[in-house]
Symmetry: C2
Subunit: 345 residues, 2 copies
Amino acid sequence: MATHCAPFTSNLRNPSPPTTTHPHSHTLQSHNCTTFTGGLKFTPSLNLKVSAMEPKSSVRVQAASSSSFGDLAVMVNDCSGKMGGAVAEAAVGAGLQLVPVCLTGPGLGRSFSVQGVSVEAVDSRDREGVMDQVLKEYPNVVVVDYTLPAAVNGNAEFYCSRGLPFVMGTTGGDREKLIEDVLKSGVYSVIAPQMGKQVVAFQAAMAIMAEQFPGAFSGYKLQVTESHQSTKVDTSGTAKAIIGSFQKLGLAYDMEEIEMVRDPKRQIEEMKVPEEHLNGHAFHTYRVVSPDGMVNFEFQHNVCGRSIYAEGTVDAVLFLAKKIRERADKKLYNMIDVLREGNMR
Amino acid sequence: MATHCAPFTSNLRNPSPPTTTHPHSHTLQSHNCTTFTGGLKFTPSLNLKVSAMEPKSSVRVQAASSSSFGDLAVMVNDCSGKMGGAVAEAAVGAGLQLVPVCLTGPGLGRSFSVQGVSVEAVDSRDREGVMDQVLKEYPNVVVVDYTLPAAVNGNAEFYCSRGLPFVMGTTGGDREKLIEDVLKSGVYSVIAPQMGKQVVAFQAAMAIMAEQFPGAFSGYKLQVTESHQSTKVDTSGTAKAIIGSFQKLGLAYDMEEIEMVRDPKRQIEEMKVPEEHLNGHAFHTYRVVSPDGMVNFEFQHNVCGRSIYAEGTVDAVLFLAKKIRERADKKLYNMIDVLREGNMR
């Protein structure tokens, strides 16, 4: 995961100056050797080429899809990763232009395809030059980031330095610094730890209920069970946020009481997780029972795979494009803002 | 159910003027022969005395319980009925004073007990005199009405004419006229078709989510199943209200699609209704599924018996007492207002 200042090895080293300035670019900050730290996620089944991509293919960037959203284009870093790949697919599915280039971890450049569209993943050490070309071809690009926690701050600094509006779907990193950097730069961005729009809507509804009707469930008992793939050690932030709302509603509950199910047998039998999604799911059940046991509420949000996050990210991209077009004063958004905008498709 | 101007048969005919004026009474309107129309609910197992109660017992009204709520007292019409009885029990359980007199249908006066407290149900034709006595003994009385749809408007007119603050838990009747009469009279009241506070909270949360995040579930599919006792022919208003919110959230749904379960076998096996509550339950399940089937939400509110409505009614009484004490400008409330007040116990 060590980062180093690799010398440029392609003609991207000295790209010709962009002929088109990004409409939201601002004074570039100097970011010497601020590379993608921590590397990027990759689909293990893909053949990882360790050599940098051929420069020619990165500069001859072409729209991956005709679009009904004007000249909006989406660059997904890193769409050779699982989550980035899902977003790229959802973007193409929504009729958006996918920039056929993305940035990947140092030494991990390679070619691959997204829904039949050929995409080049370029070594992040070449990012300045790549971005010059991308901005030239796609002045109205919105960047999506699904990389690794360790890369969050470095990547955001880079996007800010280039005036690139972006959706940060990657969790972790120094979130305070992230927000601070973004606000300072004035770039448009959506930053959210949970991109599942409908889950965020439910979470927000519970928060609003708690705020407006404090103590409405006083005396009631809460039981929370969640199931995730066995590799997830901690419980979900979404569950914690929703439990926080239940606490305000008057339910006495200790976060330690959350029942975390990681055993595949129980996941299938009790939680009804489809077997093919044992390795990628987020199931949550909240049971609320009255003191006399006569009243039962149950709330479930059960997610398999990545499509909800990918679709939510595409919604965030559309939202950001709208805000840019409107020259909105507010620059930093979250998924609640996206939700408030209503359906944009 | 015909009403008639029965001549007074007891000394309640000419009661001595109340020595204490109800603090919220106003100019009495003339209500000649406006009796409880439609009769009142009764527990069939109780021995119904058709004679009017002995007047003496109605004037020697005594507190059924010591109270930590000052001199607040609750009169439940008709607490010889199932729902009224449940409210009377909940009121005593909450430490409130229960007025040991209530009004019942013409010719149906009798004595009975609520949690060991002796209560007289008095023929409603004697209501003017009864109320004089009640107001004399319990100037800070709040009336609760759980009678019959056909009695709603006549009863409300009577409460208004006597300046009696009241909680109307009875459904049906002419609701527009009810609201109009109450507003005109200036009495304090809580009027709600659904007294289950926690169900109302959930319903309101869904309404708020729909209002704030329109279209958040666009493309998703909705499935609604509800189970009630087999005597309930139509579907619940609560289900319809919640489905209305789902529609605003972008879910295409026709009310006709609601699956109403009335078969006891299915209620027990599929809906998990406890057998002892087959004759009194309200179970609702809403399933929301993403277009690709990968995301499932499920919301359930399952109520057995009457305790949730009884407890919610007691909350409404406490709320009303508070508003009266505060001399609030607003006079007419619903359960959302009660919920906003927070936990009052």
